[in-house]
Subunit: 351 residues, 4 copies
């Protein structure tokens, strides 16, 4: 931690501060510049809050952090190595991580009925997906919009899991539903709007199922890693980070701005596996294939893609869903670059 | 709802669409332009989702909404009249609304101990505040930062309420704490990070205490009013909207960008009372007075200001807190413009 | 300048770096922390670029600036005192600055014809404005939109100046027009879109007329002060800073987000006078009065307001213009708070 | 153009408006909804400004555009076909466009001296680049930073062009330099900060050399296409669009947010060729390879990459430059996906 004093700070104040820092168990080291004095704080500074320090004296101009505020999520926590998240599914154990093939998660925005979810599951499995996504509880901007079928939809997901052997990813919005969701889901999703719902983060951190943590619409990379830190600190080390588009000044064509540079940035900062969701990230089906391709080229570990057997009739988020046929074609396009990059497994033949 | 067809849409497709809309109970009206055909949908369109409509045909270029998506929150719902939120406090009933004097809410970011909360309550009351704010449960970016004293802090707020007669505003982060909070609080706060925690919105909407709904960091005005609509639709009509700074590209000096234009915008769109929080809105105590002044001039109904007896020792958000002395002075400055604007009550003498 | 080394940097590299910095004439001081080494650079560091330093070694993690990058624009350059910009106008010398009454600049977006500009000038003068604004050369998003009447409009501004005694503020878009504009204008405006047109900044810095520098739509406060620094460094010390709304994620109701917190932030950083333009800042006439009031309460030195005798027929930016009648009323509303704040001069009676 | 009237608009006002629109040569068509009346305007509406229309009556709630405001830049202007920009260079004519191999532009941020620019040119040519980039005139945030060597640097670019046969791309900041630049450059660059310098756009539109138009930091896709429209409307049809990162709330790790979704969005809206600049787009060399890969996968027609023989000594933008060795390696990585996508030409052997 570096404390920059205002120009003209009295010597006595600097001495007082130095003593204060010593009393906290730190070793302050003073550098006298041309106009300003700077105090370096040596010792256990990770848990210190720069804003807190700033308040110790009104002569402090700014406090600069030298250490990252996240610890368990940081790449150095694992000595520079990537971690992997292993998820047992009915078919097999699927691994998310930079040394594994890309994992494809596909399915509808929300679970509508048994036929549609089973049909979608079969189609996406045939095309090569390892996980089925589908919302039972849906966060919707309007209270008058379809909110998901709730618990009954969980039953349908269980049926699709049983029928196809795919793993299930579905979102928890309310801690009260967590047990019911954990009974069915192989991975529990925290949605963008709940990324800083710290009560919920603590609760998914205190259970065993892996957690998919979507980035909030206005979350910095640091905010996001701190949210992951909540889950890790609560005891659950299986966290996957999913970029799904941030909110910027231009929302006319693409609904969000998919921040693919998050991939190399996260790779350098954290050991956690990375997923990209180009469906929410762009909000329009016609932009999804280009961005799915780009995500693979940039090095993602996983993709989440919305697929709906009949997007025109979808009860939510239709415009960003691909048809199963378009998804089949996309998987073949993805293989064209995923294969030479060594991140694509030979997909099962489409029956 | 206006449906714009792509240039070159086949006549047969337009007919098919028209029939589809009729089958929904709507009356479609067609306008044939130079390059494009436009279909106006007349009827019950409020609950329709433009994204849904877009999916009915791939020949649809865009769907433009003519009606606002919020209903109970809209000003027209009350025929253009403002609503007021009446809050019984030990001292008196306090009214939030555009035909009432400005209500001042003040207090520390978090409740630290009995002495500090009682002292702060007495000081802010003496300066003219009607409500004490103070966090028992604190949303913190880091899991390693102070998370609030929780239930024991609620007891201290009750003591401060009893000692001073001030109303209490405190935040709920977890529905499990709602009853305990409602026992003490006169107004329940939903924080910025939970603005789209729809489960929580439904629960505060289903109880009786008035709700202070803070704007999310990246929430549009429309998102925010839709969040209020969740509470209103659940049966609680006492909602106050609090602007607390949005996230923009410049975060170097002010931590957030306080969007004061939200005041005239909300005034034209909604009947709900408006509060401004310049403390979180700027993140630095030295900018708070200017922005509190500006909020009054722009027409706010209420102000929320952080005050801490000793900001240097504050366990959270110290740098944005005023000292009680600075708050006394600010209240006198605010009176200078609040009085000629007819929105300031004669304050009790400072003892 | 503070250089933070990556964890695990070799001792030899730190020695090499230290020698490099010494060879630049700097005095490096080393602080050895728990995980990282930090090097403080003492000496003439203002002109150093942190990005440049970062490249000296791949073991450097980050470089933190301790000094502000602007010098002539900084408040410390004038030992904490505000500067004033004195503008001789036909009527009198008008002063912009924090120790002077608020200066009001009003007029149409663009100069349309002699009658309208003279009529507007007379009306805004009668209401108390000291400057007439009006565009001869207009920056328009579309090449097909009205681009201003150019040189002939300058003649009309000169006529309005002569007829009313008001000072003139008009925008330069092309250095080729600078002389012609300087012949007529009392203050030369650099528009938001040209805030980082550094060639133009150097040219207005090399002439004598005062410069009104509008903030770019995505300019940070630091970028903006650096743009001012270009003008100051070129020899022109008469610069006024005008906030006119920044671009954020919400553009549905207000076209831009007027950043009024720029007022206290600038006040602490720079000695230059501050102007607020609520017309462009919100983009809608109905929001202008509230934001003009707020700007005064927050401490602005000047206001720029669009007034058009017949906004419905305006050739540009009609929706954000007030009618002269509404402007008369606004000036009386502004006096209600400007007077007790000691920033309002008794206005001439409206004839 | 769709005019939405406020609820409760008087019938007489709607009639008056209708007559007004007829007098403009338009055919208004009225749709009477449940709460609101909507008027569709049929006829020549492209040059109409929605803001202008809004002013015709205070009973107008909003005006929605149905047609795009750009014409020559739109894909429909070329009946859905892509255009190509053919650039004669000493070696050969290079084509930019979606039916051609990806064109790689590489070189230093600024031209420093003859040795460095010739060496860089030779290295990037050997690696497969077709164009050399290099700044003679540099837009720098600080007036105290290196501003480029100006005209003398143009001579060095000419020498590098002669020595290697590469085409030259360099930036114009001041119309006064345009002729001198056009003498040397094969493509003239308009930088992000001048994207809405409309005077300059008109001037590059009135000369013959192709123009590379970089996206402004806060420019929407629509703003950007309108800027291209200025050049096209002035008579120059050879415009290439270059995305180089937009400004968002997160600037801690990547300096800008590279908006790769611009690729599919532009592809659907315009016929113009697309370039991606991952160097400025991320601001850090270590993120460049991942984003260059992603750009190719998303379908870019061209890449611009900063290469400097000794980034540590670079006079500007060092931290985002690759070394020639890293660039060699990157070109081989790009071929791995460019080749199966059919967008990569066999590169000359690296000597």
């Amino acid at each position: 931690m570096i404390v920059v004093m205002k120009a003209g700070s009295p010597e006595a104040e600097i001495s007082r501060l130095t003593e204060e820092f010593v009393s906290w168990g730190l070793t302050p080291e003073k550098i006298v510049g041309q106009h300003k004095v700077v105090i370096g704080l040596v010792g256990e500074t990770v848990s210190l809050d720069p804003l807190q320090i700033q308040e110790v004296s009104s002569w402090i101009e700014q406090v600069l952090r030298v250490e990252q505020p996240f610890k368990r999520a940081s790449r150095t926590y694992r000595h520079g190595e990537a971690s992997e998240v292993a998820v047992p599914t009915p078919d097999k154990t699927v691994y998310f991580g930079e040394h594994h093939p890309i994992v494809v998660v596909a399915g509808p925005c929300s679970v509508e009925n048994e036929d549609m979810i089973i049909e979608t599951a079969e189609r996406v499995k045939a095309a090569g997906a390892q996980f089925l996504r589908g919302g039972a509880f849906k966060p919707r901007t309007s209270p008058y919009a379809f909110q998901g079928h709730g618990e009954s939809a969980l039953g349908l997901l269980a049926a699709a899991r049983h029928a196809t052997g795919l793993g299930i990813i579905t979102e928890v919005m309310d801690a009260a539903d967590l047990d019911a969701i954990a009974d069915v889901a192989d991975v529990i999703q925290i949605g963008a709007r709940n990324m800083q719902n710290f009560s919920l983060l603590k609760k998914v951190g205190a259970q065993d199922k892996p957690v998919l943590l979507k980035r909030g619409m206005a979350a910095t990379i640091e905010d996001w890693l701190m949210a992951a830190e909540y889950i890790l600190a609560a005891g659950n080390s299986n966290v996957i980070l999913c970029e799904r588009g941030i909110r910027t000044f231009d929302r006319q064509f693409a609904r969000n701005t998919l921040d693919l540079s998050a991939i190399p940035v996260l790779r350098s900062l954290t050991h956690l596996p990375i997923m990209i969701d180009p469906s929410h990230g762009t909000g329009r089906a016609e932009y999804v294939p280009a961005m799915a391709m780009a995500a693979i080229a940039a090095g993602t570990d996983s993709l989440m893609i919305e697929v709906h057997p009949n997007p025109k009739k979808a009860l939510s988020d239709g415009p960003q869903s691909l048809t199963p046929d378009r998804f089949d074609q996309l998987m073949q396009e993805l293989a064209v670059i995923g294969t030479p990059l060594g991140r694509w497994t030979k997909q099962p033949a489409i029956v």
